[in-house]
């Protein structure tokens, strides 16, 4: 569904991604792991066009999208839950959800369904986005992306700031979304969540893909785990 081929991305002079290649199969979840500052967000940003890659190809449904601008990429069916939430602080909760909403054949998310999912948001419907708590903002961020009814969803640390009970809730949704055929690329620090959901795992280190395999393979590879994820057990 989504494929990155040999992506090189720069911030000004500094070379951040060194030939990243990865794939997301239709209806599957690929997870991107790695320590802080290794280039995970940069990868996501390369896909959505915030920091376009200098060389390499990005294919969505076999169509090249790397030279398009962000709004075109998003419109061609990619949804984004960014790192740090980035809710529109001067819009109400409801406006945050509705403003960029789009309908499409691939999804059927509506305001009611989002409210059902996050009852907290309904309670805060008229509050300004900027006044919400961290976790509430994360819910908006997820809801907002779903409301664009994408075919591919990019999730950059969706569990950040969510309480354990909400994390579990979000996991359930993601599972359901997969079943409905949505393809996803997720960056996640919460390992148990990541591994429970992933169909495929990539590990980034300093802009290089250093592991490419299934969660099971990763569980067995203790060297990779300790070296790149600082997991001892």
């Amino acid at each position: 569904m989504l494929e990155l081929q040999d992506i090189h991305t720069y911030y000004g002079e500094s070379h951040i991604l060194h030939g990243v290649s990865l794939k997301v199969q239709k209806g599957k979840m690929s997870v991107l792991l790695g320590r802080n500052g290794m280039g995970k967000t940069t990868t996501i940003h390369s896909v959505i066009g915030f920091s376009p890659s200098k060389t390499g190809k990005i294919l969505l449904d076999n169509r090249e999208i790397q030279s398009k601008t962000s709004f075109q990429i998003a419109k061609s069916g990619i949804g984004l839950v960014p790192q740090g939430r980035r809710v529109f602080s001067n819009l109400t909760v409801k406006e945050n959800l509705l403003t960029t909403a789009r309908s499409s054949k691939s999804g059927s998310w509506t305001l009611e369904k989002i409210y059902e999912l996050f009852p907290r948001l309904k309670e805060r419907e008229k509050s300004m986005g900027g006044n919400l708590s961290g976790g509430e903002q994360q819910m908006i961020s997820i809801g907002r992306a779903l409301m664009t009814n994408p075919e591919v969803l990019l999730l950059d640390e969706p569990s950040e700031g969510l309480s354990p009970i909400m994390v579990r809730e979000v996991m359930m949704i993601i599972k359901k979304l997969k079943e409905e055929g949505l393809s996803m690329l997720m960056v996640e620090q919460n390992l148990s969540m990541a591994l429970a959901l992933a169909d495929h795992v990539y590990i980034l280190n300093k802009g290089y893909v250093v592991f490419d395999g299934t969660p099971e393979e990763l569980k067995l590879d203790s060297e990779v785990k300790s070296k790149y994820l600082a997991l001892t057990s």
Partner: protein
Amino acid sequence: MDILGVQLVNGLSYGLLLFVITSGLALVFGVMGVLNLAHGSLYMLGAYIAFTITNSAFSNFWLALIAAPILVAVISLIVEVGLLRTTYHLGHLSQVLLTFGLAYVFHDLAHWIWGTNVLSLAVPASLSGSVSVFNQTFPVYRLAVIAIGLIIAVILWVIQEKTRWGAIIRAGLSDKEMISGLGVNIKLVFTSVFIFGGVLAGFGGVVAAPILGIFPGMEFQTLILALVVLVIGGLGSIAGTFIASILIGLLETFSRFLLPELSLFLPFAVMALILVVKPKGLLGKVA
């Protein structure tokens, strides 16, 4: 008693004239975060173009009222796409400086094209008469201005509060990158808003010209007043701009009537007072 009544109508008419002039500035600022110091210049161009049209073969005020704003919109389009767009990533101060430079450029262009004489725009016969208000002669045109101001206020309020457009635009103000990442062509939206701001400025120029006149430097005079109105109302609030326009209109009218020596001082004093008491203006959103 009668004289107070007439002054009240004077104040309303002047206030709504201010609103017509300021609305475009308020819209562009509220929506794009661009403090368009060339707004006064677009206003001036509207007036001068209207003058040229009414003094051409067509010689028709109503044609000028439609054509001048359209021409100003074209100029706005060129400004936004050709210049402003290249500076959005540099922060808002850059746009202030850029539009300030533009104001200079437009000033001399007008000087060059239309010369330095004082010009005036004749009102069509249907609006040029006078009627009696509170037993005093009152120009019909000023009553028409009240109506025009109210219509524009309603249109803007609907656009900003009742359509998704308004929300998209405000979202763009909060995080431009993110809104495009969600599939909105924010550049196009910004261009349209700027053009619409230009239309309002040009329209304001035509409507104001019969009252305020057309002369070199008119744009700076208007700009300062418009900025005062904008700030008193609270940045980004159309309703606030509306209230502030009427407030300043009444204030100026009555201060000229009662305390003429202070009329230069008062608008600024009121602005300072309001900012000290309500740091975000009358209806500005509180942080």
